[in-house]
Symmetry: C2
Subunit: 132 residues, 2 copies
DNA sequence: CTAGAACTTGACGCCAACGTCAAAGGCAAA
DNA sequence: TTTGCCTTTGACGTTGGCGTCAAGTTCTAG
């Protein structure tokens, strides 16, 4: 398959695919004329790459990670980095959830106008704001 | 307190504090000489701002949010945006956790070398990779 | 064989949240 | 008063993951 079809299938732009190749995340063979050709497996490859990006990893880290996934072997240094990244993602999840609760409190404040008289909700919404 | 002390207390740079002010997120009074002066409450204010940033909100959204928090009143448009943002954070949490599990699988692969023979772990680590 | 869709490389653009340097002025202690 | 740190505005730099032309080439349907 060529780059356009892969882009459609994996729901990314062709620009992104070329960028992934440039970063060493994705390989391709070429036609006689120089156009990129991908195997069907490339679709899942791209989805994996996207998932790792979504996890907050950078191209550089992903580039180190993919060979380890393929080889099913993780070097000690990479393991250290993995532990580090995992900690980072866990922290990020916690932070996101905390902020999510703040948003929830604000939403509750908007959908239940009587929560104006509910100190607990307000405390959760803006714990340290100046009291009226 | 002046900008340096606030920066120390809230664990952000002075540059960030000036940026927040520029974006309308933080106010300050001035000395006769023009230096910024903050009340003690500014520390919590900055922490709140940081938390909202951490949640993936932009300056623009935060700038709309803060007055609503202060006034304890949320307009319908803002409510819609809040619901949107909350959905976004929830989706992000899910994505992060999915990627986190992938990292966990890789870590397991590194710390328990015999998991090479555990198809389930491998499936979780790289569900669609070509089989050896 | 030819039109035109899809593809190529190259290079600049973008955006957000600051970092960083510069030159100048403010402030407090001795 | 002087020393020396703190602060001011202004402006350019950075980073990442692409978007977006541009000008030229390749592929494929008819």
């Amino acid at each position: 398959m060529r780059i356009g079809e892969l882009a459609d299938r994996a729901c990314v732009s062709t620009r992104a695919l070329r960028y992934y190749e440039e970063q060493g995340l994705l390989r391709s063979s070429r036609t006689a004329g120089g156009q990129r050709v991908y195997p069907h497996s490339a679709e899942d490859r791209v989805r994996l790459i996207r998932e790792l990006y979504t996890a907050g990893l950078t191209s550089r880290v992903i580039a180190e990670l993919l060979p380890a996934i393929d080889a099913r072997h993780v070097s000690p240094e990479l393991l250290a980095r993995l532990l580090d990244e995992r900690a980072r993602t866990k922290a990020k999840v916690a932070e996101l959830q905390a902020a999510g609760q703040r948003l929830d409190a604000l939403i509750a404040l908007a959908t239940h106008p009587d929560s104006d008289s509910c100190p607990a909700t307000l405390d959760r919404a803006a714990a340290k704001s100046p009291a009226p």
